[in-house]
């Protein structure tokens, strides 16, 4: 089974949540992980669909940034699954609800090279959404257990 965490923007917040699913992020690592993920080179076309590892429940965990092309990408996934008779289940998780104003401002600040302020806001925003992220992760795990 594959789990694709996707965002309608780039894949960075999706990666963050995917790493949370993989239990790669604990409380002490939050600041470092935010910087690692959000400072990565932003190449629009390469590694946009990014395999991050296998979870304890043996699912391949993947992050994807759709850059506003959600409908096209979702249509393509459905079509490719049909054309190639892909039987393996693919769970698609939209993470757009995690973006809050603090995360949005942080991302803008990083775009404008105000990295200190940007990371501060990002960290604040992500910590504020931790319970939502944890809930999302737990829901997926439960769904996979049922499957």
């Amino acid at each position: 089974m594959k789990i694709i965490f996707y965002s309608s923007r780039d894949n960075k917040l999706a990666k963050w949540i995917a790493y949370s699913y993989l239990n790669y992020i604990n409380s002490e690592q939050i600041t470092k992980k935010i910087e690692d993920i959000f400072l990565e080179d932003d190449d629009l076309f390469k590694n946009n669909l990014c395999y991050l590892g296998n979870s304890s429940d043996n699912c391949q965990v993947i992050a994807l940034g759709c850059y506003g092309q959600n409908n096209i990408i979702l249509n393509l996934i459905t079509a490719l699954n049909n054309i190639y008779s892909i039987q393996e289940e693919v769970i698609l998780i939209n993470i757009d609800s995690i973006y809050n104003s603090s995360i949005n401002l942080g991302l803008k600040a990083i775009d404008f090279k105000l990295q200190g302020l940007g990371f501060l806001l990002l960290k604040k925003g992500i910590i504020a959404e931790r319970s939502k992220i944890n809930k999302l992760v737990e829901e997926i795990k439960e769904r996979i257990e049922i499957d």
């Binding site: 594959k2 629009l44 076309f45 390469k46 946009n48 669909l49 395999y51 391949q60 993947i62 994807l64 850059y67 506003g68 092309q69 409908n71 096209i72 990408i73 979702l74 249509n75 393509l76 996934i77 459905t78 079509a79 490719l80 054309i83 190639y84 892909i86 393996e88």
Partner: protein, 154 residues
Amino acid sequence: MKIIYYCYGGTHSSVLAAAIHTGQLVSKGVPSKKQINDLALYDKISKKELGRPFFYGADEFGNLVYVLGLGSKRELIKEFLLDYLKLFNIKTEEIILVAALPYVSSFTKIGGFLSRRLGLVSLGRPIVTYTLQKLYPEYDNLVSQVKAKLRNID
């Protein structure tokens, strides 16, 4: 092999190229307006169907030909398509993605926009068809290049 002709909407230039490729239009001589307008999927695909490849037919080598609309971020979606298949260990060497858009003129784009986006079919479609007739030799040549490549692969 799978040959995918792609453009913005997957309904004009890619359909013309796919029709030439699959022998639905004669390779020599410019087709009439009616011949182009009567092509399957021509000026039919809506915005919500972008990203969905449509099977168009098979060529003389047995390759399967598709048309696909990829919207404005075509390079991104192309990368995604190939990366997604690699996740499932599907051989991407057996896919040829052919851009059908580079030959179109501004008038083709305007006609396509009028017809598909604004729903002004009676105004937009004739413009697109007229410009594609003018561009027909370019598409004929594009398909010849693709077929030459296929012969080399075989």
